[in-house]
Symmetry: D2
Subunit: 347 residues, 4 copies
Amino acid sequence: MKALVYHGPGKKAWEEKDQPQIMRPTDAIVKIIMTTICGTDLHIMKGDLPAVTDGRVIGHEGVGIVEETGTAVSNFKKGDHVIISCITSCGKCDYCKKGMYSHCSDGGWILGNLIDGTQAEYVRIPHADNSLYPIPADADEEALVMLSDILPTGFECGVLNGQVKPGDTVAIVGAGPVGLAALLTAQFFTPSELIVIDMDDNRLDVARKFGATKTINSAKGNATEQVMALTDGKGVDVAIEAVGIEPTFQLCTEIIGAGGHIANIGVHGKSVTLHMETLWSKNITITTRLVDTVTTPLLFKTVISEKIEPKKLITHHFRLDQVIEAYETFGNDAKEKALKVILTNKS
Amino acid sequence: MKALVYHGPGKKAWEEKDQPQIMRPTDAIVKIIMTTICGTDLHIMKGDLPAVTDGRVIGHEGVGIVEETGTAVSNFKKGDHVIISCITSCGKCDYCKKGMYSHCSDGGWILGNLIDGTQAEYVRIPHADNSLYPIPADADEEALVMLSDILPTGFECGVLNGQVKPGDTVAIVGAGPVGLAALLTAQFFTPSELIVIDMDDNRLDVARKFGATKTINSAKGNATEQVMALTDGKGVDVAIEAVGIEPTFQLCTEIIGAGGHIANIGVHGKSVTLHMETLWSKNITITTRLVDTVTTPLLFKTVISEKIEPKKLITHHFRLDQVIEAYETFGNDAKEKALKVILTNKS
Amino acid sequence: MKALVYHGPGKKAWEEKDQPQIMRPTDAIVKIIMTTICGTDLHIMKGDLPAVTDGRVIGHEGVGIVEETGTAVSNFKKGDHVIISCITSCGKCDYCKKGMYSHCSDGGWILGNLIDGTQAEYVRIPHADNSLYPIPADADEEALVMLSDILPTGFECGVLNGQVKPGDTVAIVGAGPVGLAALLTAQFFTPSELIVIDMDDNRLDVARKFGATKTINSAKGNATEQVMALTDGKGVDVAIEAVGIEPTFQLCTEIIGAGGHIANIGVHGKSVTLHMETLWSKNITITTRLVDTVTTPLLFKTVISEKIEPKKLITHHFRLDQVIEAYETFGNDAKEKALKVILTNKS
Amino acid sequence: MKALVYHGPGKKAWEEKDQPQIMRPTDAIVKIIMTTICGTDLHIMKGDLPAVTDGRVIGHEGVGIVEETGTAVSNFKKGDHVIISCITSCGKCDYCKKGMYSHCSDGGWILGNLIDGTQAEYVRIPHADNSLYPIPADADEEALVMLSDILPTGFECGVLNGQVKPGDTVAIVGAGPVGLAALLTAQFFTPSELIVIDMDDNRLDVARKFGATKTINSAKGNATEQVMALTDGKGVDVAIEAVGIEPTFQLCTEIIGAGGHIANIGVHGKSVTLHMETLWSKNITITTRLVDTVTTPLLFKTVISEKIEPKKLITHHFRLDQVIEAYETFGNDAKEKALKVILTNKS
């Protein structure tokens, strides 16, 4: 088969690889129908994730068709259409039993990281019964690719951890794909105000179309002051960090109101300064989370019943064998106005 | 009347003051029976809290007898014995209605801070109906002084925010009075392990007597390594910070397990470094809180039914007019093995 | 002033009454701008509530202008426009401190029940600071009348107690004003399916316009079978009872899925049979609740930000002095297609 | 092997059966070390559970040694000592993913019911990875037999569903083994009062030894009146029903305070009358639950750390081949003062 293979920092190739085989009774082999590229894949390609080694097939999102199943797989059979979760979960370790699949002792985020991933014609999915989700006959599979990672990430790490509730004032810092996924899913809980903050006017335009009630370009003025002005000096109920750098994290701690929740989604490469000298008495909560994908069934129902339209996040389409070109586009997201790109396997 | 008056950094006096008067219909005047000294009072005396000005009567804890009530006070009448809450709450602002009395728009922590306090023969209590709690005839009033501040602080900021549950492994960093109050109240939820960490062997001895299952002297070895060894490398479910400086906060972030809760109680004077580069994917929660005293009724029931013995925290007794001497003892807590000192008004 | 006075079963009059006076420092006198009629008022008029005695002014909903305040009232002053809550809460008893205003030891539902109510030109509101809510200058006061009772009742007793969450299948049994209020506010949490069941086709039409995804006329077939067919035999996640009789309660227990929540809103006059022989192992939750109106501030924010349009519930308008006629219309709700009627004080 | 076999109402025999074999890759065969008898087993023997058919091996509790594992079992291997959960869970159906193992679509309570059980020398355990729990080398296995069913049943259905919290007044109606398991585990949350109600003075004696603060013999007076007298007429915060008949259920609804929780554990054979005409406005919650055993890991930690001593529940010991005699004793529980009987396999 053909697959996108990482060959060390800056080097990747669409090349021939052995087709994956069932290795354990709980495995399934899935033929990819569609996949996509994540911001994390760009980090991998730069060499920022040293655990990813030369020869690895990248990618942790996608929908596909079950090609083969191990003897212990009972939820799926050959021919079933499935959503591939970015998180592999065994369903039987202490962490899985607590719903913390991200820390599964025989899984977690391993796909396109510690084992070969989905930017390929075929992929092996360990613990298939717990790590795949069935797609009904008439569903829109492009929309469902967004359930692999981005929608549960925005929802679990941002919206649920932020405890968004009706009437709240919510700020989302960062309007990239994950911040926009938080924006879409925050509306499940009917906040009164959804303030989106970014430095890219195009993304802020998109945010308004997706439901932001206010937008702030933080490159063009003091965002903290603007948020405080919008909230009568009280600050927001929920601040969602969807970037992963110190300035955006600081902004969240400056605009959070007493009793508020800061929900971090961003992947941080460095430490941040936490101003406990002011925060200690503000009764705030800060959360971090690697997505667990425990809400995939819930999100699936909201997509199928058209309460949310995740296809809005898709800006570009390519054939899977154009994956190198797709990386170019996705890597120049500001110029290309790219959010999510769909790669379709025509083989 | 006589009262302990702050006269700027390092200067205090037990001196004559005008007896407080009813100023608003919701006020009560309370004659002090017993009061105590808080670590915060030492900070005030050093000049660390510039909002406290020359002439202020210090103190925010105590039990007393209602001497007079304003026309709108209905829960109390002259002669009633009462617990004085360190937090004044109006019961009718947005924050009070959410149970966040600490941020009451006409209250919060004002006693012995922005208005005259309880280290005096009499004190004026604003919003008396919501800021006092009744004491039944046969109750042990010394035990109930601990309900003014220290017990709700340890319980709300440490135990409730830490979400301690049966079977948990809990670490408490700092075995001063507030850390010990967290230790006592954490046992309400039956954790399996209660690890207390401090640099003072005497306090660790006390902690073991109060229910710690393990103690670690962090001056004598690497506390992080010891906690990790005790938890099979997984870290703790709950880490309670009861000091308020960077090293103890860092320790909490090092020993916290995936999915765990860090509950900050300590009053911080400076910022801390937060290692988001490792924490972002650990699914942790960090909370801060100024005590709300919303659990005073609950704690009262546990004291009256003898589920907890807060008198254990009392190490020294003085007459109220010996308050200067009491500050000496409390200020030399390590040498004097002092936790809480009781000051009794014999006038 | 003029007021609607109850004179025993079947007898009421729009007649002269003494204008109410401040009786306690926490009282306010409010001049009524608009009021409305509740289903409970019809029960009172029939004599179903013996606690309501001859001479009582009826009505527990409305918006008005503060005319006078007692000396302890600090949140409001003469001239302020206010929402009158159907529940009076002192803010300082054990129940109020727990957020259970419905059981306030000096309040609860007393307005138009144990004390004179709002279907009058003026009304006395005890504990005004906690029982009134401010209206900003430009707000739509007709919409806000719905915040006195019907919206918090549908939301708290039905939606919150039912724990509606995104993706859920929710059934609402009874499409009267309260059932429709539950229907409107259930959408705050983005359920996938909202099935409304009633015997009146007009009300089911309204329900569809208000967001019901399915409607069932229970007079024209077996509702249980239809719900089971719609849910693959699994039953619903949440069943909201908004009638108050045995058949509708039974229906809820028949259609509830394993792990589901039955939230009772209906006012019951008789006992019901509970089939514990089948329910004991179904892991269900049944809740009852008299509205607490603790969510009034939250609901206010959703109305002001136009996340919900409670004016949809208003079908008829009258002058306050036409109140007898308004009762006629509201009492013939099926024929008149009446939901909520607005009575405006032109005096 | 030998096993206790059900042969229709009133007929059982300790007789030769084929040793169970691995049927699916997720199965394990466990050699029984110890088992016990449940009240439900008595119902089976009477013929009350028609789903149990002639030839079935009874029993759903026990500890044992893994004899053989299917190819997909990874948590256990031959020789491991294990707790057998009364609930079989696949870990991968919708219900299991929600933590509702009791309704597992390929499990639930099937052991000694729909498939052969544990009152035998060997038992086949489906979905072994999720339905067995490991026992460390030095653990007290007799205590751990109580984790198969009775302890999680009392804890999940009674204490957790009842939402027992510190300072609460809790009533437990029924002091049989399950009521006593609720009594032991309710103390995890430090209620102030634990009132146990039963008609057997011996059981009430046991209850006091196990931590009841008050006991009421409901055969000797009006239990409702006594509870109301003990609670200043307010009723209890939590009422746990541990019998399963109308009078005890009614008692719970009579003694529940406003805002309280009724947690049903009892297995009901008939419907009950629910007095909605008084309960509709009392803001109460009624829950039902078949045990999920999701708290087994938590309970295991409390047993190992000696926070609870479930061995207290064991009153009699037999050899497994004396099982018929053990049934006699357990069936005459009042006369024999029997709670739990331990059956040890000496083969």
